[in-house]
Structures are given as structure tokens and as C-alpha cells.
Subunit: 194 residues, 2 copies
Amino acid sequence: MLDGARRCFARYGYEGATVVRLEREIGLSRGAIFNWFPSKQELFLALAAEDNARLHALFAEEGFDALLEAVTEHEPDWLAVYLEFGRLLKADPGLRERWVAIAPPEARERSRAWIEYGQASGELRSDLSAEEIGQFIGVVVDGVVAQRALGFDPPPRELVLRLVRQAIRAGGPVSDVGPTRPGVDTPRGTSVSD
Amino acid sequence: MLDGARRCFARYGYEGATVVRLEREIGLSRGAIFNWFPSKQELFLALAAEDNARLHALFAEEGFDALLEAVTEHEPDWLAVYLEFGRLLKADPGLRERWVAIAPPEARERSRAWIEYGQASGELRSDLSAEEIGQFIGVVVDGVVAQRALGFDPPPRELVLRLVRQAIRAGGPVSDVGPTRPGVDTPRGTSVSD
């Protein structure tokens, strides 16, 4: 049911996803659909919660690279629904509060633990709290999402990764620290300017 | 006229800014308005071009701090119009092309020159092109804009500044380089970590 709803929102937008269209894409009657989700808003929130939990899990298990990759591969049509839904969020403080808490607490907890682990192991900077590092990552991810949702190509993932890593990594002689994981390990000093 | 139009869009949203409302906020008849701007879309594009030119000028004259400050102080209601306009952008590749070129070429050129100057003077990393650094800054700024437009509080400006600086600064002993405040011009090596 959630897959059908997701397709429907992505195809028609939030406003455009009428009950008739939801019925058709989901393959269930409105009675059946609204038996599970009391409103279109609740249906969308369930999808957003699903996304959020998945992204937190990815981040906690595989790090920022995987998170950024997932966001970069999300269909722009689906991301655009978020922007559209944003108008409702903006107009409704109660809804905004629910939104802030949309990821399950344990998912958020695991993300925070991942950052704290990176700090404890000396890989991530510890002059900022885990929450602050998480907030910065959130801004970057939201920037990528916004650009994609509007139909633009964000900068190459590799570039964003490299700069975010440089921002959040622990201090140390920079001169011999390149990006720290396979895939981005171009030796520093390599000129990539064009 | 542009000020009135801006107020009208911020108050009613892009769709909600009807001709009647535009007339009222601008204080001119539709004949007079559409004499200057052939359509509502052109009117909005003129405002966006104005914003863009101003932000580029700020960046080129005062750096990322000033740019981020301006974006952080923009009224969320006005930023939300951008997100709404995004639906049109997304649906219309021709419009998207105009959008990409919305800042006057000389404004973009000055921003690029500013980054190149920072690279030449050894303050900014030169293993990336000025364009790549600009793209990253764009992602961060768009993330802040998106969060504000949706009614959320982005992380404190100071935090974002600190991390972006760390991301784009030239290499060097990181261990004694804290965030470099105020301005970006604190001598390198000053420890301000807390």
C-alpha cells in the first residue's frame, strides 16, 4: 500500500494525489485505505517516516557516503512532494512538531551514536557535539534534496563527500589526510581544478 | 513596484498572488504592472534576479559570512515562494535554463574571482576549482534556505560558518586551527577551539 501511495504522490504531486488516483495506484478502495490511514496527510507522514528511518539506518550503518548516495538516487519527483508538503508544515506548528520527531527515536539515537563513535575513535572532530555535526550534515543533505527536487543537478557526490569530510574530521596534519575512505581517496595535491 | 510585488508574493504565496492582490500591494493597475512585466512569472524572475545579484555582490565583497547572514535573515515567507516557484521550474526546462543564468554574468564572475583570490592567497584550498568550491557553498546555502522556507530553524550560523570554513580552507596544521572568527580573516594558527 505504501509503495502505491508513494508512486501516486511522485506522479501527481501532493495536491494532485486525489482519492481517486490514490485508489487506482494503490489498488484498494478509499474505505480500505482510510481504514489504515485516517487522512492523506497521515499517509504521507507514514511514507516520510519510512524514508527517515531508512536514511538514519543507512547513516548509522554505512556512514555519510551511503546517506548521500541514497538521497542522490531518490527520484526527484518524489523529493518534490516534500517541498510541496512543506507548505503545510509551514502553516501548521503542530504538524511541524510531529515532523521533527518523524524518525523513530531509536533511529536518531543510532545516528548520534555513530557520530559519537567517530569522535571517540578520533576520526571526527570532538570540538563540536554530535548533535551539531548531525545538524550540519542535515543542512548539506537538505541542500542536495532541494536542488534535486527543483530539477537541478547537485554537485557530484564525490565533491560533496570530500568537503563534508574535511569539515567534520578531527584535526591533525591536513597535509597527509585525504578523504578517508575508499572511493574518495584521491591523493591530496592532485589538482582537480579545471 | 518590485517591493510591493515581493510583499505580495511573501504574503500570499506564488499561486495566491493574484492580479487583484498584486495591484493592491503594488498600488498600480494591472495595465501599468504588465506594461513592465509581461507576466507574473517575469515579475517573480525579476525579484529573484535582484536577490541573486545582491547575494553574489555580498559574497564577493564580504565573503561567505555575509552571504549566510543575508540568507538567514531573509523572511521565511519570501523563501517559501522560491520553493513554490520550484514546481514551475521543475516542469519547464526552458525556464530552468533561464533560472540557472539568473544572476548577471558579472555578479557570478565576481564571486568566482573572490574564491580564486582566496586560493591564490593560500587561504582557500586549491585542490578544487573555484567552481567546485562555489557549488559546495551553493548546496549549503540551499540547505539553509530550504530549512527556513519550511519553517524550521537551521543550525546556528556560527556553526555552519565554522564547518564550511574548515571544508574549504587550504591545508595546514589543522590541530591548531580552530574556527577562525571573526570574519574569515583571523590569522591562521589561532586556536579558538572550545
